[in-house]
Amino acid sequence: MELEPERALDRLVRELGKEKVLTGLDETLVYETDSSNLMGEMPLAIVTPTSVEEVSKVLKICDEEGVPIVPRGSGTDLMGGAVPASRGIILSLSKLNRVLDLDLEDSCVVVESGIITASLSEVLMEHGFFYAPDPSSKDVCTIGGNIAHNAGGPHCLKYGVTSNNVLGMEVVLPSGKVVKLGGKALDPPGYDLQSLFYGSEGTLGVVTKAYLKLTRVPESRRTLLAAFKDIEDAGRAVSEIIGSGIIPGALELIDKASLDSLAVYSPDRFPKGMDAVLIIEVEGYEKVIDRMAERVVEICKKNNVSLVKVAESEEERESWWKGREETTGALGIYAPTFLDEDVSVPRSKIPETLRRLYEIAKAYNVIIASVAHIGDGNFHPAIPFDPKDEDSKMRAFAAERELLKVCVEMGGSITGEHGVGLSKKEFMSWMYGERELELMKRIKKVFDPKGILNPGKVFPSEKGD
């Protein structure tokens, strides 16, 4: 179809007004990229609707005029999913950011999709509730982006990822149609269209509203640090903790390579010479919290832990979490930047996977340092490199490729929570056959027959692309 950008822009301005359709270079320039730093096409316009009706109009106009749309929350996408792969508009949800209905009786809050994830805590905490999914980017990213990526975080072991915490949503299709999926009444009849939206990366429709499930803030919490000389022991301890009926609120592993760089970067955080450190947070009723912590200690001891302790103060707890956060900063001791990976393997395969990654690191003469949401098998290996040094860059990318291959071999996924976007679309064929990819494409066509929604993402390029 012939692209009619001028006519489309005229129509958009007429319907929404000039101030919501920005075309100046000053405005469009920053939207060429997202947190991936990949450069895309210069957008024709940044369109910022303030109501669902306006979103619907924008979609309808763009569909009729054949103008590609990239829906955008806060642009914290690490895989280039929010980067325009072809010339079109950016549909920013940033002005659709209200809390519409705080309904404690139904443990539900209804929000517009452009709301910042962490801003919900302010609203909910005073009532003793929280919204559980907690990606590290929560102070910036939006609920719409979280749904589009099915985002997760440290607390997802116990409370589930985004899809486990969303009861329903409102979406707008390219036809302009507004469709409500699910809601406060659970398990309505019909096909489970909601399932398709989690992780759809803006390719099926624009999410405008979400019905979020609220979780009660637990009465008490204990945080433990456990350091192991052998990562196999750490892995076994993790399985036993969960097997004992305790599902920790968070269960994070810092691997040897990360500990080595931390030892230089902030030497006093963690014990030295360890293969792995676990940060374990148990949550529950005050009455049993110490027993839960004791049980975790016992299990760690049984599995040859070198040091295990319960945080004695909030400062101590924060210092451990700070250490977890510093793992990325600490990589600066090796190189100015790094590739930030996001993969997933069955939990019991993490020790073996990490061993394979160290072999890869050796073979390519790079460092691969990982932190893992070990409870659910999702981990983030990072590969430092110097972007000015072509050789260092090539080695990092080659090692990354090998790493992804290993995770797929282990029965895992090329992405646990960051998505496919532009960066990983060519690896999709490692996970799916032609048939499965074809089925997904045909599903997309049902929602977006002309292919205007976030084109060029998720699916591997076809010949001639």
Binding site: A185, D187, G190, Y191, S200, I242, D376, I443, V446
Partner: protein, 418 residues
């Protein structure tokens, strides 16, 4: 009536494929010859849906069962689509694990059937629905193409979540041949507290007013008088024509003990309270998750499922009792999930239809829905068992045509005549 009878229709043929290839060949033939195929798992939910437009082949999944891989340390299990829930729970139980799905028709229900019908139980709000537990799926589409969306990891956002999309599709998209599911550890201790009340109002009010944040509960159910009497009949728990409020507690041993005492105290206004532990506790919940399977046999049973936002569940519970009063209904409510059931054992179809239409309107007013899960054919011809799914229907039809373009699977049984 035979085992494969559906809405008074008998299949011309029953096939029991043993592997994916055989499923493919049955479906290919059905496409070529324009046949209608119904997938039959345990046969427990064959009454769900409109009367089929065609019913030539019953495709039984009974030979597609079994545990294919159980990895206790990963808390994952892969099973054939025809695996029975009951057998699976027994196997998982040996490793102190379970699948947190309390689906009805416990003895017969298969995992594939539970996914297809999206039947969840009283603990659905606490542990999540079956769709949340699906890590991977293999299936053969209605067009006869085998697909592999098999994954074994909890976190995987590569591509669309086709693996869980089949939830609730009622066998109209694909034959599910394999599923990988997430399992949970059993808790150290469980107990139930039952409180009996003279009136629905008191029972519902107590349920709403329980200071929930103080208790490690996983389910709260309200049973109407007739269901409560059935409980007495089956379990000898003194119900005596009273409403029952039942709370399920799970967690650390002494915590559960303490909480059950506190719940008992919190429910003072009741005529009687009982705490159950151990075997009795489990068999009670076995009954509650499967009231529909425990209903008296025979007659032209009508079973309704009504979903509303939780806070509206007292209102709809009383409406259901009122509207259906002349049919003396069995009613029970999974209070935490806002899902209730009403069953009547027969009656004049025209009058029943009026009642259903009225109750559906009431549920919709509360932002909910009503599904007729079982009814005689005569009634199904008068009322849409699914109700209106709104603007989403067009998408659903489009998706049906992607999976099953010739409408071979359960033709005409699903929403909007799909």
């Amino acid at each position: 009536m035979g085992r494969y009878t559906v809405d008074g229709m008998e299949p011309k043929e029953v096939v029991t494929p043993e592997d994916v290839d055989e499923v493919v060949s049955v479906l290919k033939r059905a496409n070529e010859e324009g046949l209608g195929v119904l997938v039959v798992g345990g046969g427990s939910k064959l009454s769900m849906g409109m009367k089929p437009k065609k019913y030539d082949i019953a495709l039984s999944t009974s030979r597609l069962g079994g545990v294919l891989e159980f990895s206790p340390e990963d808390f994952t299990v892969s099973v054939g689509g025809g695996m029975k829930l009951k057998e699976l729970q027994e196997i998982l139980g040996k490793e102190n694990q379970f699948l947190p799905i309390d689906a009805p028709y416990y003895n017969d229900a298969t995992i594939g059937g539970i996914v297809a019908a999206n039947t969840n139980g009283p603990r659905r709000f606490h542990y999540g629905a079956i769709r949340d537990l699906i890590l991977g799926a293999k299936f053969v589409s209605g067009s006869g193409i085998p697909y592999d969306f098999g994954g074994k990891v909890v976190k995987n956002v590569a591509g669309y979540r086709v693996r869980s999309f089949l939830t609730g599709s009622m066998g109209t998209l694909a034959v599910i041949t394999e599923l990988t599911l997430k399992t949970y550890p059993l808790q150290e201790k469980e107990a139930s507290v039952i409180a009996l009340y003279e009136s629905a109002d008191e029972a519902l009010k107590s349920a709403m007013e329980l200071p929930k944040k103080d208790f490690s509960y996983t389910a709260i159910d309200v049973l109407g008088k007739k269901v409560s009497n059935l409980m007495e009949e089956r379990h000898g728990i003194g119900a005596n024509d009273l409403y029952a409020l039942v709370v399920r507690l799970e967690g650390f041993g002494d915590l559960v003990e303490e909480h059950s005492k506190a719940v008992e105290e919190g429910l003072k206004g009741s005529a009687k309270t009982i705490t159950l532990n151990g075997k009795e506790h489990f068999s009670l919940w076995g009954f509650i998750q499967d009231v529909q399977g425990n209903l008296p046999k025979g007659g032209e049973k009508v079973l309704l499922r009504i979903g509303v936002p939780r806070s509206s569940s007292p209102a709809i519970f009383k409406k259901a009792e009122g509207v259906l009063s002349e049919f003396d209904p069995f009613v029970w409510l999974h209070e935490e999930t806002g899902i209730m059931y009403a069953a009547v054992m027969g009656g004049d179809p025209r009058e029943l239809k009026k009642g259903i239409v009225k109750l559906r309107k009431e549920s919709e007013k509360l932002d909910g829905y009503l599904v007729v899960e079982s009814a005689p054919v005569e009634l199904k011809e008068m009322v849409d068992v699914w109700g209106d799914v709104g603007e989403a229907l067009e998408l659903m039809r489009g998706l049906k045509e992607v999976f099953d373009p010739n409408y071979v699977l359960s033709p005409g049984r699903f929403v909007g005549g799909i």
